[in-house]
């Protein structure tokens, strides 16, 4: 295997995949950090976002990218609605009950997808796209745009969290919730804002996965483990950690076939997860341990 093949067939897909994981993992790390529970419906919300984008695209008959903002808005609204309906009343009870409720929500979201959109695999764009060559590196337009979209999302989110008043409030809530409340930050506003952002991120992750692959009703559930592995690897509560974690998990999965039989590829994320819990539970960037 030449070096350029290694880059093209292991690193490039790993980076594309990893950046999609990252978008999902950022949402997970935000829920984990700010609302302090593991959100198991994350993957299925991503599935729903991906399908909303598909329907939007069908409605306008345009490029799938038209569907992305619409799906993000819808998914944000759905996430806020889910919180109000299913998580809010559990707020003062042990957090683990909310984790459990999110498992139930995952099932509900999935069944809605299955009833509305069916269980067949489908795609945004038919046909195949051969890659263009940039200095020997093979990249498709959609992969380039995926990386651009992920970069935009991450930079935009970072700017929001660093510069805006409410972004800082979210960070404060993640950092020290009691103190944030003492400072007069309204818990409910932060919670709502968090869900809106997390929902939008879910939709983006689902959309980007669908764009680079097929859509089906189980796609999000299969994303869950890699996303959690990425979030914990990077350090819970760390946006930049989730990005780093996502990339590492994505690349590791693509490299795993060099040493493991192909069918164990899906186990890579989990092995990383268990190792990091064993060796450095705070993650690479020193996140929280709940």
């Amino acid at each position: 295997m030449t070096f350029i093949d290694f880059i093209n067939f292991h690193i490039v897909p790993g980076v594309v995949l990893g950046s999609i994981y990252a978008v999902g993992a950022i949402g997970i790390t935000m829920v984990f950090g700010i609302l302090r529970f593991a959100h198991l419906a994350h993957g299925d919300l991503a599935t729903m976002g991906a399908f909303i984008a598909l329907s939007t695209m069908g409605l306008f008959g345009a490029s799938p990218w038209v569907g992305l903002p619409v799906a993000m808005i819808f998914a944000a609204a759905i996430a806020v609605g889910i919180d109000k309906t299913f998580y809010d009343y559990l707020r003062d009870r042990p957090k683990i009950l909310t984790v459990m409720a999110s498992l139930g929500v995952a099932l509900m979201l999935r069944s809605v997808v299955q009833v509305v959109w069916g269980v067949d695999s489908t795609t945004y764009q038919r046909g195949i796209v051969r890659p263009d060559e940039y200095f020997g590196i093979l990249l498709r337009d959609r992969e380039l745009y995926t990386l651009l979209a992920v970069a935009t999302i991450v930079i935009g989110l970072e700017a929001f969290l660093r510069k805006s008043k409410w972004g800082k409030a979210m960070r404060a809530m993640s950092d020290n919730p009691d103190l944030a409340r003492l400072s007069g930050v309204d818990n409910r506003h932060v919670t709502m804002l968090t869900w809106a952002i997390v929902g939008a991120l879910c939709a983006a992750a689902g959309f980007l996965l669908g764009l680079n692959n097929e859509l089906n009703s189980m796609m999000g559930w299969h994303l869950l483990l890699p996303m959690f592995a990425a979030a914990i690897l990077g350090g819970v509560g760390r946006v930049e950690g989730a990005l780093l974690g996502g990339l590492i998990v994505g690349i590791a999965e693509e490299l795993s076939v060099l040493i493991l039989p192909g069918q164990y590829k899906a186990a890579t994320a989990f092995v990383i997860l268990l190792l990091i819990l064993l060796v450095r539970p705070r993650g690479l960037l020193n996140g929280k341990v709940l």
């Binding site: 960070r171 404060a172 950092d175 009691d178 103190l179 944030a180 003492l182 007069g184």
Partner: protein, 235 residues
């Protein structure tokens, strides 16, 4: 002298059991009041009762003419009381300046004057404004915590053991700053373990034991009181 804060025979606790068995404390404007007492006397609990973090089951808490008994903390904050907890009192992963910004979260309009005031009170922090609060030393962190609380321009500042774990040098510094804060027009209620030093610098003091008032008076008077000295000042 009309009191800014007046706790009258307050009873209450976190769960069903009452920790406070009738505590009465008043704080006048521009006054530093220290609460001392042995471990488990209910010092911090009394302070938390003011800030609405407790089930108050008896008595009354008046602040600046309002009965604030049973108010939620965020309402009390808006009324002009700020609380600095003993531990976890800064946002560790935010910069010093961001900590101050969070302190002023509820304030609208131009905050330059407020920043000037806190950096004026804590000149050391001006150079460290971009540093993460979690990376600072204990004493500096305590200053950040006080600064954060002062950003709201409170009438009353509640400090829960601000000198715990600090070196004598920093303890002195904190006390000096506390006086400066008072001089800038803020009343202060302070819970302290270092009773001797605290009574020496405060205006008035209260000694609590087993959830009730035991002694009160000016700092100097309490220091001179033999019973107080025997109780926990170690002779």
């Amino acid at each position: 002298m009309s009191a800014l804060l007046s706790m009258q025979a307050v009873r209450g606790g976190y769960g069903d059991a009452d920790i406070l068995q009738g505590v009465s404390i008043t704080v006048a404007p521009r006054e530093i009041v220290v609460i001392v007492g042995p471990n488990g006397a209910g010092k911090s609990t009394a302070m938390k009762a003011v800030f609405g973090l407790l089930h108050v089951r008896g008595g009354q808490i008046l602040f600046d003419g309002d009965d604030i008994t049973g108010w939620a903390p965020n309402r009390i904050v808006k009324r002009g009381v700020c609380y600095v907890p003993q531990v976890d009192n800064v946002f560790r992963e935010m910069t010093v300046h961001e900590n101050f910004e969070m302190g002023a979260f509820l304030r609208k309009g131009d905050l330059d004057a407020a920043y000037d005031r806190v950096y004026g009170l804590f000149p050391d922090l001006r150079a460290k404004r971009k540093a993460l609060a979690g990376d600072l030393s204990g004493g500096q962190r305590q200053m950040v915590a006080m600064g954060r609380a002062l950003m709201l321009d409170p009438k009353l500042l509640l400090l829960d053991e601000p000198t715990a774990g600090l070196s004598p040098k920093y303890m002195e510094q904190i006390f000096t700053i506390t006086r400066d804060v008072r001089d800038s027009g803020v009343s202060i209620m302070l819970v302290e373990q270092h009773a001797k030093q605290a009574l020496a610098f405060c205006d008035r003091g209260y000694v609590l034991a087993t959830g009730a008032n035991r002694h009160e008076g000016t700092g100097a008077a309490l220091l001179a009181d033999r019973e107080v000295a025997q109780m926990f000042l170690g002779g």
